[in-house]
């Protein structure tokens, strides 16, 4: 079953064409990875899907709804969550508050119940709190739940950001380089979390990652971009043996991380 469809997406910034007529579809409950050298347009693509960038042409369809050019908050509400390449956390708030903010659209109470607190507001807050605590357990961040996010080490912040996206309880999670800048052990943990989220919580995952060994290991399907163009898609084996993909990485004197 198809979960998300993208048709002929085109995005440019002045003269720079970041995405040139990209089409693909993502199946329900799969881990779909996007790879490509720096500047290939990977992050821009996620930004279009969740409504932070507005493509000039093309269509994005999620749950039989054309969500192209919808505002980001409406897209989140419909069921797309995300993390960022460069952490975008609420630095002055606690871990708990960051995750609880993810529950924003699940909390329905209005201003009056909020002021009184007792009753509806506190009931809904507790229900959400129970859900958030489950995520905290899953991501093993119990010991820092009351800490201010800005004070945490980088690896933990990455985890909190994943937790916050999970708290939104979306159907699709867009993860932009969740393992960047991590050590070996942290990468392994993160890969395990992504698999858990995919298998146990039934989330469809669109993953951008430069670490090819991880990508080849956990992805169901992979799409490769280069200079805003789609150069290949297929299973990990197909991508590994694709000459265009190899050329893109070697030709772009890039990281040379192709396995």
């Amino acid at each position: 079953m198809i979960k998300l469809e993208v048709h002929d997406l085109f995005l440019s910034f002045g003269g720079i064409e970041a995405l040139k007529d990209i089409s693909f579809s993502v199946n329900n409950k799969e881990i779909f990875s996007i790879i490509g050298p720096n500047g290939a347009g990977k992050s821009s693509l996620l930004n279009c899907i969740n409504g932070l960038y507005h493509p000039q042409k093309g269509k994005i369809i999620f749950k039989q709804t054309d969500i192209t050019n919808w505002p980001a908050d409406k897209i989140a509400k419909l069921g797309i969550g995300r993390t960022f390449q460069n952490l975008e956390l609420f630095k002055g708030m606690s871990v708990l508050d960051n995750l609880m903010l993810g529950r924003h659209n699940h909390l329905k109470y209005g201003i009056m119940p909020s002021i009184v607190w007792i009753g509806r507001a506190s009931k809904e807050e507790i229900t959400s709190r129970v859900k958030v605590e489950k995520i905290i357990d899953l991501l093993e961040i119990q010991s820092v739940r009351k800490k201010t996010v800005g004070t945490l080490p980088y690896g933990l912040q990455k985890r909190v950001e994943l937790g916050r996206a999970l708290a939104v309880d979306p159907e699709i999670m867009l993860l932009d380089e969740p393992m960047a800048g991590m050590n070996e052990e942290e990468r392994e943990d993160m890969a395990r979390f992504i698999l858990d989220i995919n298998e146990e919580m039934d989330k469809t995952i669109i993953l951008i990652e430069h670490d090819m060994s991880v990508v080849m290991d956990i992805s169901d399907r992979i799409m490769a971009l280069d200079f805003g163009e789609k150069i290949a898609d297929g299973t990990p084996e197909q991508i590994q043996n694709n000459s265009d993909v190899l050329n893109a990485y070697i030709g772009g004197k890039e990281k040379g991380q192709v396995a």
Partner: protein, 349 residues
């Protein structure tokens, strides 16, 4: 399983409680008792100060919700206080409406006015938003002076003390219970608002609006809600002030009042309700303190008497700059340090 869930719930409830420890509940109780006993033992002057501070706390809490929590600066708070003052005053003096509905209407109308002047926040941030809200200040000040049929212009509007069931809040002593009562209720309401969905959305917009959007927060809606709530507080404070002073003139709601409230929340601590109370006390007591010093010094240097206003404004400015440099998190941070010190006492050094 069902039983286990029950235990979870009660523990989260206590984890979310407003005052978490027995100790803090004890001190809060003592504080409230102190507030009730206080007026019976002090002079009229201290009652006056307490009233002014209580009303100031309400307005300042409102501004801190907008600026400290939601991160939207406003230089129009003084004028918003005026809207509440004039509207409630008009209702009680012209139509003999009871003060309770009149005050609430004053708050609501101010909320609407505040939301309207908050509309530019859709596009403007920081300095530019500051200028836009400053425009609100001057437009409203113009209306206060020139809409004579309602406001009485520079002559002012006369209102009588609030009355309910034959009981009139017509003295400093009596008014104390109205102003302190309202201040307590509205501060606790703010505390609840801040710890829930609305407070989190405000802080999220302040900390990272792109992430907030991505998590599903309707940025514009919540900015406008913040303007509305903040102005509601200003409106109620204005209504209380008007019926305490009993004569309202435009110079009570000038630009310098807006600056004064900004000073309060910076000195008290942006994003801290406790700090707001400290900041209000500081700013309201500072001129009295200066007056006292000035009184002594001017025996030797008489020309200082004429300069008092300038000295007052100047020391506000100095206080703001001093806090920005030496204690950017305001009195609230100082309080925390002191509290932590005593927690560990006598082992702290």
């Amino acid at each position: 399983m069902a039983i286990k869930c029950g235990i979870f719930k009660t523990s989260y409830r206590s984890d979310m409680a407003m005052w978490q420890t027995k100790n803090s509940r004890f001190w809060m109780a003592l504080f409230f008792i102190g507030l009730i006993v206080f007026p019976f033992f002090v002079s009229k002057y201290f009652l006056y100060m307490a009233n002014i501070i209580a009303i100031g706390v309400i307005a300042a809490v409102g501004l801190n919700i907008l600026t400290g929590f939601a991160g939207q600066i406003s230089l129009g708070h003084g004028a918003f206080i005026g809207v509440g003052a004039y509207f409630a005053g008009y209702l009680t003096s012209q139509f003999n409406i009871n003060f309770i509905p009149a005050f609430i209407a004053g708050g609501l109308v101010t909320a609407v006015v505040g939301m309207f002047f908050g509309l530019p926040s859709l596009r403007l941030k920081g300095f530019y938003l500051a200028i836009a809200t400053m425009a609100a200040q001057f437009i409203l000040a113009f209306v206060f002076i020139h809409l004579r049929s309602v406001t009485g212009g520079s002559q002012g509007m006369i209102v009588s003390p609030p009355e309910i069931a034959g009981f009139s809040f017509d003295s400093d002593f009596r008014y104390y219970f109205l102003s302190i009562g309202t201040a307590i209720v509205m501060t606790l309401a703010a505390k609840n608002l801040i710890r829930g969905k609305f407070g989190r959305a405000f802080m999220a917009i302040r900390d990272n609006y792109i992430a907030a959007k991505t998590m599903g927060v309707n940025i514009f809606l919540y900015k406008i809600i913040a303007f509305g709530i903040s102005s509601f507080y200003a409106g109620i404070a204005g209504a209380l002030w008007a019926h305490y002073i009993q004569i309202i003139t435009p110079e009570h709601f000038t630009f310098s009042v807006s600056i004064e409230y900004l000073a309060i929340i910076i000195i008290g601590g942006l994003g801290s309700l406790l700090g707001t109370v400290f900041g209000t006390i500081f700013i309201m007591v500072l001129p009295e303190f200066l007056r006292f010093i000035n009184g002594i010094v001017s025996l030797h240097y008489p020309m200082l008497v004429n300069m008092f206003d300038a000295i007052r404004e100047g020391s506000f400015g100095l206080a703001i700059i001093g806090f920005l440099i030496f204690e950017p998190d305001g009195l609230a941070a100082r309080w925390k340090t002191i509290k932590n010190y005593w927690k560990l006492w006598p082992y702290s050094y």
